[in-house]
């Protein structure tokens, strides 16, 4: 078995004294692991940093084997990420989100959103908006998408301001009024274009965090990524 493709490094794990197991998000193949011999060497270690894009050649005797990677650096982002605390936290968070996906299941849209978040030079609220939309899309890809198209109570598709924490369906302002304390706020930028305030960003991450916790982190006995809270704090504090 052999294939070649572009992949984004999302992590490496030590394997023995000199090798690593590379975890990469590969176009058309999804999250794919493989052994890199000599991956801990001074020559290869800088290449295998999270955030870098590599040309990967994977070889194995059988399809379900771990296999070996041969790697070539295509886009060295890691050194620039290291210099920018916000983007460094972002790549860690995005890597943890990608790690929630099943292995070898293609999610090219998430991969392109990840690369865009790292490459587009987004900062502050613009990056926060991209990350909040990313988490919403992640929920969708994991099979727990929210229904934000129409009000669960009235069927209206306008003026949707809240979300039911139980069903994940949107609720219009009028229908939400008696239950406001028990519903999650739905910032307008998650359902369409529009500006976002720091308050909106916090509400968006509370919303996505609630459903990620309910459907993904808690059932898998995972804690929310430690960088998530620090990143939200940074993205909303400077504005």
């Amino acid at each position: 078995m052999e294939w070649t493709g572009r992949g984004l490094v999302i992590g490496v794990r030590r394997h023995g004294e000199t090798s690593v197991i590379l975890e990469a998000m590969v176009e058309g193949r999804g999250r794919h692991l493989g052994l890199v011999r000599g991956g801990r060497s001074a020559r290869l270690a800088p290449t295998l940093q999270p955030g870098n894009t590599l040309l990967l050649t994977w070889r194995a005797r059988l399809e379900d084997h771990l296999g070996h990677y041969a790697v070539e650096l295509l886009d060295a982002r890691a050194a620039q990420l290291i210099a920018d605390r916000t983007r460094l936290y972002a790549i860690q968070l995005l890597g943890e989100h990608l790690r929630l996906l099943p292995e070898r299941d293609p999610h090219d849209r998430l991969l392109s959103l990840t690369v865009a978040a790292l490459d587009d030079g987004l900062t502050g609220l613009a990056l926060a908006v991209a990350l909040a939309r990313y988490e919403l899309f992640l929920l969708d890809e994991l099979g727990f998408g929210l229904d934000l198209t129409a009000c669960a109570a009235t069927g209206e598709s306008e003026d949707l301001t809240h979300v039911s924490p139980r069903t994940g369906r949107a609720v219009s302002r009028a229908a939400a009024e008696p239950y406001r304390d028990r519903l999650l706020r739905l910032p307008g930028f998650l359902t369409g274009p529009g500006n976002a305030s720091p308050e909106d960003i916090r509400d968006a991450f509370v919303l996505t965090g609630h459903f990620l916790d309910m459907h993904v982190w808690m059932p898998r006995k995972l804690d929310p990524p430690p960088t998530r809270e620090a990143l939200i704090e940074r993205l909303t504090a400077h504005n």
Binding site: G11, A45, G51, A78, A79, I82, R99, D223, P226
Partner: protein, 201 residues
């Protein structure tokens, strides 16, 4: 393949777990020890016994020594510099000591934040570091120039915000003996950003 009695086989298996040794090299090492039993095997065994009894992890900095607090933490000359160097591992501390960085004190984190390996802030000695920080004028975050290392450095910087202690990190750039042509673009751009003035005089 038989290698003598079970005692010898167990010795081979234990040595094979050491870094740099596999079963074949462990077998060679054991044969060498057996051949030089009095000159090497007995003193090695005695040294191991003494080390097992004496070695302890310093309760202050995390260094490995035979006393706790360790010799570095109790050295009065190191108190005056006010400099605390934070490292990932004891091996990094020893490397800095070999480099002769001066009369400084250290703090061993015990690793870096690593989602893939399930290492979170509570698995490192960050809380102990926060407790020590007030006693120093500068803290140097000497963690590796990797994404995980620098995430840990930024996380610690966030946690130390408001402590009043100056926080610095090691420079990133061209290593001694390095050739520009062979450096990755990211390191080159970092080195250029962190350029320093040449003294013409």
């Amino acid at each position: 393949m038989a290698n003598g009695g079970p005692e010898i086989e167990q010795l081979i298996q234990l040595l094979a777990r050491l870094p740099g040794l596999g079963p074949r090299s462990a077998r060679r090492a054991v044969l060498h020890l057996i051949k030089r039993k009095d000159a090497l095997m007995v003193p090695l065994s005695a040294a191991l016994d003494r080390a097992v009894a004496a070695v302890r992890v310093c309760e202050t900095c995390g260094n490995v020594d035979t006393v706790s607090p360790c010799h570095i933490c109790t050295d009065p000359r190191r108190e005056q510099s006010g400099l605390l160097i934070v490292v990932e591992d004891v091996a990094d501390l020893w490397a800095l000591e070999r480099a002769g960085v001066g009369a400084v004190r250290y703090h061993v984190l015990g690793g870096v934040l690593s989602p893939l390996d399930g290492i979170g802030p509570e698995d490192l000695t960050i809380e102990q570091l926060l407790g020590r920080a007030a006693g120093f004028s500068e803290i140097v975050l000497a963690v590796n120039a990797t994404v995980e290392g620098q995430t840990t450095a930024h996380y610690i910087t966030d946690r130390l915000a408001g402590s009043g202690v100056r926080i610095t990190r090691l420079a990133h750039g061209v290593p001694v003996g390095g050739e520009l042509d062979y450096l990755d673009e990211g390191t080159l751009s970092q080195a250029l950003r962190a350029r320093t003035a040449m003294d013409p005089g």
